[in-house]
Point group: C2
Chain length 424, copies 2
């Protein structure tokens, strides 16, 4: 796959130039009324549908190259586009057009004693860089969310998906242009040179926020190298704590769903913590193992159910993303909270309990972006939260936490309206 | 001045250890009800008043050392504490106790169709590092704001104020302890070694947020070196744009106040932009010059008022913090917006105009943390905004913009309350 025009430029120069053009486009986007942005996205969705054959052909190119390079079946599946997936991608773009627009929302407003009226108003962040791996649908999903929130996007997808991404991007900007969005609002980095990623990470002033979408090694690199702020999560080492007061049927249903519904997502449970006083602990562990989950227990858990394997120290800090769970017996709420404080990744943790006081203490004391009571950790998802599509889940402490959707892609400014007030 | 115990430790180890103790204290603080935090701050204010003689004696030590080292009068004035300033510092701490507590506020709440109730609730950020210069009152101000918002603080003041800071810190933690706040909630870095600042800036995981309080060189160093997120502003290159539709008396009052009320604060106007069609331009420039302001004009401004000096290219990018202003004649709103986009620092910009449409376009298009209409830029202040005391003004795009007060020192978590929901 040859690079596009511009790829021969020095990476820092390339990204600075793309950023400058994105900044101009972001000014246009910030001023676009909601119906204009929505119409542009509907038009982009239509353009994706119209370009389905072209996108499929490009994807076949990528697939052939990936197969020849010996990529694994799972990676090939992520890369693959078919008519159903292309239609779903177009539907996703159209769905973003229907979301409530946070831009222009008045967060609060106050009249000061001197008559000055001060309001905080949501505005776009500006220019957002998205760095992702093999799934080509991210090109459309991320672009749609950025545009709806009034931001320009600079997209850098995986090299294995380069033909697919270019075909999707070409359709997108053609559709967006018909709706009045400038082409520079959504730019695709024209080179697969990894130095371009480094340049994005250091583009302070040109890019306002970086969102990595992909596996742990990508996120770790971005977090380690970035000078631009990053919204991301590195790990989803999520816990379910089953309190002595838990209803056994509910505990079993929540634990099995949290672990086994989909094992490869960041919201999956990785560690089960069981209160030493919970009577049905052995039954719960056996129930989980019976679903096909490999269970690794601490000494107390192994005593209860001798069939399970022994966990080692690394298990408590491992995101399996697989049908494997670590199980520890803890001394009540305090034991659970201490375990999560030590081993958790501040993503999503849940308690199953009938005792309201215990549950509320768990919700208050566990320092994670999402804390749940009597619900599966697999609800950690923008759609399930009623936020619409999400751009990702953030476990940092600033700006946006948990599922990040349109509102997380905005910031605010203060607007003051006076009648000649001076401070005097 | 000798270092305190702990100062001989390697800076990275020292900060990691302080951070670990601060993390434990932040857990205690996060759970403290508002009246407990308020009572602790009232007690700290009383302790500061009780320790006034000790603080004054310590300050005399710092002043003698600073005078011997040849510090300038302005620096000595910043360093100096007297009974009035100590009383004002204590009053400031007590005033923070009276502010509305953002922690625990429910930002929004939604019941999902499956019955899961999801709320976003404000929580403290965690551990905040404050790096400041010669003003010892920052020790008390910053600590009070951090504690009221439920955060632990790690304070690193200027080496010239080390005795004053230690005396203030000792009084503070004694008072806070009487109110039930752990001593590790407010820690003072025990060494004046500059390497400790570097260690704070890199303490990802130990410190959640760094706030520099001081001059441009401090902020620039912090922004360049920090791996921890930073809330700050580097410059306040603020503009007042006087539109053709402006009332001349209002324009003169706003411009003179914005520039001359206090010239050394970050909210002071540095550049005056005048619409080419504004009839009273010469009068306005002469009025500003008559207040004792040195005016440097672009060629068109110099033609209108030949007595003023000619600005050079650097003037448009200079924060004078003095009785100096640059003046440019611009082509209406678009000229003003373009000038601000090119030279502004995203801090505070104001338009004086009678034309509502022009004013609203300015407020929408100028990309600054604070945009004002018919009001002086000197209102850029948390107190004037009705937020209570501010920890600083931020010009970054994420998390908090403009005056950062208690709410800006919090983040949120998602709390979901269910009845056994599984995703299925």
């Amino acid at each position: 796959m040859t690079d596009l025009p511009g790829a021969e430029t020095h990476p820092a120069t390339l990204i600075a130039d793309m950023g400058a053009r994105a900044r101009v486009a972001s000014g246009v986007l910030a001023a676009l009324p909601t119906p204009r942005k929505a119409a542009a996205l509907v038009s982009a969705a239509a353009a994706l549908r119209d370009a389905a054959a072209t996108i499929e052909a490009a994807n076949r190119e990528d697939m052939a190259r990936a197969a020849a390079a010996g990529l694994s079946g799972a990676l090939l599946d992520r890369l693959r586009l078919d008519p159903g997936r292309i239609a779903a991608m177009a539907d996703g773009v159209a769905a973003v057009a229907a979301l409530a627009d946070p831009v222009g929302q008045i967060m609060d407003s106050r009249a000061r004693p001197n008559g000055l009226v001060l309001s905080r108003v949501r505005v776009p962040i500006g220019v957002i860089g998205i760095i992702y791996e093999s799934r080509p649908n991210v090109t459309a999903d991320a672009a749609a969310l950025c545009v709806m929130a009034g931001n320009a996007a600079i997209l850098r997808g995986g090299s294995e998906a380069v033909a697919s991404n270019r075909a999707i991007h070409a359709a997108l900007i053609e559709g967006l242009a018909a709706g009045g969005v400038p082409a520079d609002a959504v730019q695709l980095v024209p080179t697969t040179d990894r130095a371009a990623v480094g340049a994005m990470l250091k583009a302070v002033g040109a890019i306002d926020l970086i969102i990595p979408r992909g596996g742990k090694s990508l996120v770790a690199r971005v977090q380690a190298e970035a000078r631009v702020p990053v919204l991301a999560h590195l790990d989803g080492i999520n816990h379910v704590y089953v309190d002595a007061s838990a209803d056994p049927a509910m505990a079993a249903a929540v634990v099995v769903d949290a672990k086994m519904r989909r094992t490869g997502i960041c919201g999956a449970m990785e560690t089960l913590l069981i209160d030493r006083d919970y009577a049905a602990a052995a039954v719960l562990i056996e129930r989980l193992a019976a679903t096909g989950c490999v269970v690794r227990g601490d000494p107390d858990a192994c005593k209860l159910v001798p069939e399970i394997a022994a966990a080692d120290a690394a298990d408590w800090d491992t995101e399996y993303l697989d049908a494997i769970a670590a199980v520890a017996i803890v001394d009540g709420l305090d034991g659970a909270v201490a375990h999560i404080a030590r081993h958790g990744s501040h993503h999503t943790d849940s308690i199953v309990a009938a005792d309201v006081d215990v549950a509320e203490r768990f919700l208050a004391q566990v320092d994670s972006a999402i804390v749940l009571w009597n619900a599966s950790t697999q609800f950690a998802d923008g759609g399930e939260f009623g936020l619409g599509a999400e751009i990702g889940i953030a476990t940092g402490r600033l700006h946006a936490r948990g599922p990040v959707a349109l509102e997380g892609l905005t910031t605010y400014k203060w607007i003051g309206r006076g009648t000649g007030q001076v401070r005097g």
